[in-house]
Assembly symmetry: C2
Homo-oligomer: 100 residues x 2
């Protein structure tokens, strides 16, 4: 398993519309081999550096790479994605805990 | 419930020691009222903007705020934290899914 953490900078006037446009890409990605799960986070205050952070679990880095194909890139080519900047990378979980 | 997403920029020569120093702060935070759970992520490649990302769940924004107290700040005052820059904010989960 591997985690893809993707932080999005979104212009203030586009934040409310972001989830709908993101859903279209997500609907494509969840059909890909190796997709496991995801959680999209929206900042509760407007001064957050990243208005949204998506954490997606994939079964491997190779699956993640192969899923970002021409179909994926086509979905991100629309004008609604201009000005939105993702900062993403692959991660391992190295420490976790929960209240007892 | 609220999610605290905290992305850390860490100098390359400090990445290997980061988890140990982070554990000391984490051990303090998990004792605080309202702490629910956390997952610390380490980037699998050295070119990631953020070498580490922590996702912590708290029962409320107030609990999260109150936990970041004088004891917390004292733990972060050591020289090992110089040069490490966190970018963090509070988030709601607005979309999630899992492979069927």
């Amino acid at each position: 398993m591997i985690e893809f953490v993707n932080c999005f900078t979104v212009p203030a006037d586009r934040v409310d519309g972001f989830v709908d446009q993101w859903r279209q890409v997500n609907a494509y990605m969840v059909t890909k081999p190796g997709y496991v799960s995801h959680r999209l986070h929206r900042a509760v205050t407007s001064d957050a550096t990243y208005a949204f952070v998506n954490i997606a679990t994939w079964d491997s880095a190779d699956s993640w790479r192969e899923a970002h194909d021409a179909g994926f890139r086509a979905l991100l080519s629309g004008p609604e994605w201009a000005g939105i900047r993702p900062v993403g990378a692959l991660y391992d979980v190295v420490h976790e805990g929960a209240a007892s």
